[in-house]
Symmetry: C2
């Protein structure tokens, strides 16, 4: 028992701004959103200190799925897209963005996303609002075939202004060691397929917000939809189509490299997965630039800057053996992607060349 007894015992955690019962209410509300992402490998119990997921799900004949498993992990946030979403009180798509930014990265190695965890920090913990955000993250996890294994919600009134919040996420996937896709087999002659993005995804919003705010209202009608709908459209999640592709070509080494087109655009991301003795040569005429990018450019952004900052309509890139380019493209189209043959691999020095 402490020897210093207080004379005026009136200072409480609640009076200091933290409401533990609101936290309990929130945990109850989000239970369903977590559970519907679970598969039989999830072993977590209610109220546990950590989330548990069995790596190998023993199938009927006790066949093991992974002989030499490599865990693949990434962390990411949604950046200043959330400021635009806050301003228009349209935050319901941000959970999908958050999951997408992480799982698309993990996917580039050929990994199967296993689980996701979120970090939500806010001014005030409002259970209904948090539940809506977790619901959105849960929808993202369903699109990515991964379990929402847990997360943390932090109420930090002295750090975040009223109505402000931040989001971060973490994803873990697994890949059989000999099936890791890392671009080392890429060689001259390989074809580069570009998968259509759904819009800006979650990059370049510092510039996009500035550009869009500077435009006259009539400039915004050419989109054929409200500007804010186009600007906040959630990031596309490529997991199901790419995983289906990798399963289909399980025996053959058809897919040689993959890149998630985030900050830095095509030039910042495709060379990351190309050997130092190759260049990637892309044609800007090989795919249509979506209207939202033309609109941002019209606010006074140089074309080179546009391609350095934004995905310009290509959200994910797959480098394949030339002989399989047609069938891979057809397979991905059938899986719901729009696919463009945007270029080829040449002998070179690890750069991206526009042609």
């Amino acid at each position: 028992m402490p020897s210093v007894r207080s004379k005026k015992a009136n200072l409480t955690y609640r009076s200091a701004g933290v409401d533990i019962s609101a936290n309990d209410e929130m945990v109850d509300k989000i239970g369903h959103a977590l559970k519907r992402t679970y598969d039989p490998r999830v072993l977590s119990r209610h109220n546990a200190f950590a989330g548990l997921m069995q790596l190998d799900f023993r199938e009927p004949l006790l066949r093991r799925n992974y002989k030499d498993p490599v865990l693949v992990s990434g962390a990411d946030g949604v950046g200043s897209k959330l400021l635009l979403a806050m301003k228009y009180q349209r935050v319901e798509g941000l959970g999908i963005d958050l999951v997408a930014m992480n799982v698309n990265d993990v996917l580039t190695c050929g990994a199967e996303p296993l689980f996701f965890l979120d970090y939500i920090a806010c001014h005030k913990l409002e259970p209904t609002w948090i539940a809506a955000m977790v619901e959105s993250i849960s929808r993202g996890c369903n699109l990515a075939n991964c379990a929402l294994l847990g997360g943390e919600t932090a109420e930090l009134p002295d750090l975040y202004s009223k109505g402000h919040f931040d989001l971060a996420g973490f994803c873990v996937g697994v890949v059989e060691k000999r099936r890791i896709i890392d671009g080392r087999d890429v060689e001259p002659g390989d074809e580069v397929l570009g998968l259509a993005s759904s819009g800006l995804h979650s990059n370049g919003y510092a510039l996009a917000r500035k550009a869009l705010a500077s435009l006259p209202t009539q400039a915004k009608v050419q989109l054929g939809e409200p500007l804010i709908d186009a600007a906040l459209r959630p990031t596309r999640i490529y997991v199901k189509s790419i995983q289906a592709l990798l399963r289909f070509y399980r025996r053959k080494r058809v897919v040689k490299a993959m890149a998630h087109i985030t900050g830095g655009g095509l030039a910042g991301n495709v060379p990351r997965v190309i050997p130092a003795n190759c260049d990637v040569q892309l044609s800007r005429k090989s795919w249509p630039i979506p209207p939202i990018f033309r609109l941002i450019q019209s606010a006074g952004v140089a074309q080179a800057e546009m391609f350095r900052v934004f995905n310009m309509g290509i959200g994910f890139v797959v480098v394949v053996r030339r002989a399989f380019a047609d069938t891979v493209a057809a397979f991905l189209e059938k899986s719901g992607e729009r696919v463009y043959r945007i270029g080829t691999i040449r002998r070179g020095s690890g750069r991206l060349i526009w042609r």
Copy 2:
């Protein structure tokens, strides 16, 4: 090529507040801090989209370490401890706090922490400052025997005020399925060992900051050290001693449950790992309350509230078979912990009883 060509191409990503070259400089600076946490299982390459870690490290005789691996994962931040650290410009311990909050949670299941990822969001990306923060996280990872596999740094000037930032982290560990420690074997008669905390750890700072700010200066000298040193002391990381204990008792089921004492204190955390037909009975006289807690209480916090919010000197709890309580306590003391026999398990209904 976009058909809308800009007339005045003067809006750039840099003018919109984002400096990509500062980001590159930062990535170079933190390389060393990441690499010194690596073990041979880390397969990551520079510039990769995601971090890679081989689950099984093949030892000389191709012996596999895990037959039925279960991944254990948690996400956490450091809460408003960072506001106190910002105010006094003493942020160099926060990386250890961040790692500790995550790995101690993962540890409660008996898991070996494998890797950690961080999320740092700030007003302005200053490479030197970020490097110091990652250095601190890297020291935490070394204390926890886990690899700092990657992370994300976000510059969000419109969300964070000048000098403000937020930290979140995420840890993955692994445990052999049949060795998961989840409290299901806890039974009346088991002993409860309490491992000393290093101070407040990373919980209750909303209340602690308020209490400490209200105290007269002379009240603060009884600590025997500057108040801010005591208030910001990094959270203790229990990984090495607990992992050594679990390896030592690999064959015997000696450790039955473990709890990390975070928000909610002993009453909020120990019952989480106790079966519904047991109570945990603890004696407040069985360990010394560190001076920092007495000081906070003297500002006017009721004793019950103190025990509901703070760890009160016990940072981690281990429930063991009674016959092994002495040897386990001695083993942990030898590993560098201060250990108190703080109570026992009784027949009951899942509650914590003070005696």
